[in-house]
């Protein structure tokens, strides 16, 4: 990934009109894609990646508990690179491996990335496809937010997402390995209270996703539907049904 080309699509010469938002906003300057952006993104993201590593350790421990090997846990972190979805997948994991439920749920949990990719479009649509579509593999919540901050404040480093994403990726993969190796030496999980980690991780993730009172109604509906469906339906489909119910509430009440 060492492309130093500077892409200069011809774009409208109309400058920005103080804050007025236009469809073609901020697409009038050429983007750069080089080592400078890669480095800037990486350095800015290291402190954030340290926080992500906490989840990585927890994921590694949990993955070993449900029967994944260390190599499999590390492979998942390296190729999927989606924290919440991976931890949800581990929650669904059983010796029989319910592949359909795991993959469908992963997709649904990650649907928000569609929005995040869309937000990058004004800038990334002007990079060559290999750079743009290679970089988005490294999208995670944290480095996406950093990259949007960089671009919205006038930065033009196309490699910022890749650089910050590499920081996340390295810490995430390394932390998974640490957790998996550490989790592997632990015997019976419940005698150390480790059977509780999964619930604890989800509580921490939920807290990080809480957006104030507006989250209350959709979350309450999701929880209630999940509890009801868990009573009457086999398997783990209550998770998706609860999530979709919460989503429908949000869609239904929009622009109230």
């Amino acid at each position: 990934m060492s492309t130093d080309s500077v892409e200069t699509h011809q774009a409208g010469e109309t400058g920005e009109i103080n804050g007025t938002v236009d469809e073609s906003e901020r697409t009038d300057e050429p983007m750069e894609f080089g080592l400078a952006g890669l480095r800037a993104g990486f350095i800015a993201c290291v402190p954030v990646a340290l926080g992500v590593a906490g989840y990585g350790v927890a994921f590694g421990v949990l993955a070993r508990q449900v029967g994944l090997t260390t190599a499999e846990a590390v492979l998942m972190s390296a190729t999927v690179l989606a924290g919440a979805a991976q931890i949800v997948a581990v929650e669904l994991w059983e010796p029989s491996i319910p592949a359909a439920a795991i993959i469908v749920t992963t997709f649904i949990v990650n649907l928000r990335y569609v929005l995040m990719g869309a937000a990058l479009r004004p800038w990334f649509s002007r990079l060559p496809p290999l750079q743009a579509y290679g970089s988005v593999f490294f999208t995670a919540d944290e480095n996406w937010a950093l990259t949007m901050g960089h671009l919205r404040s006038g930065g033009r480093q196309g490699a910022y997402l890749l650089g910050s994403g590499l920081a996340i990726w390295m810490f995430w993969v390394a932390a998974t390995w640490v957790g998996a190796v550490g989790g592997g030496v632990i015997g019976e999980p419940s005698s150390y209270g480790l059977d509780f980690i999964l619930v604890a991780v989800f509580i921490v993730i939920a807290l990080s996703l809480w957006e104030g009172r507006s989250s209350l109604l959709p979350w309450a509906v999701a929880g209630a539907v999940a509890v009801a469906c868990a009573q009457f339906l086999p398997g783990r489909w209550y998770i998706l049904l609860g999530g979709i119910a919460g989503c429908l509430v949000e869609v239904g009440r929009f622009d109230e």
Binding site: G54, I97, I108, R112, V199, L209, A224, C247
Partner: protein, 101 residues
Amino acid sequence: MSELRPVVVAVIFGMALVTYITKASGLWLLGRINLSERLEAGLQILPGAIIVSILAPELVSGGPAELAAGGVVLVVAWRTDNVLLALGCGVGAVLLFRSLG
């Protein structure tokens, strides 16, 4: 100990593929289709709603020790923003509360 089983690798690659599709389709698809703000709000709420859907039945069926320890995790995570500290306190709390029960 550290082997890769073909079935597991296949599931992992399936997860990787659908995840990449979500990450790339915002760039690709949205140039061609317009998402309404209403739908965007719905997609935004999905991860939280799914996490709550996992948690709620667990907490409802859990005992008082698990509920109380869940409260400890919540408070520590909220106050310190430290993931590992919150998890460590939660595990300690659940052991303590279980031994009391």
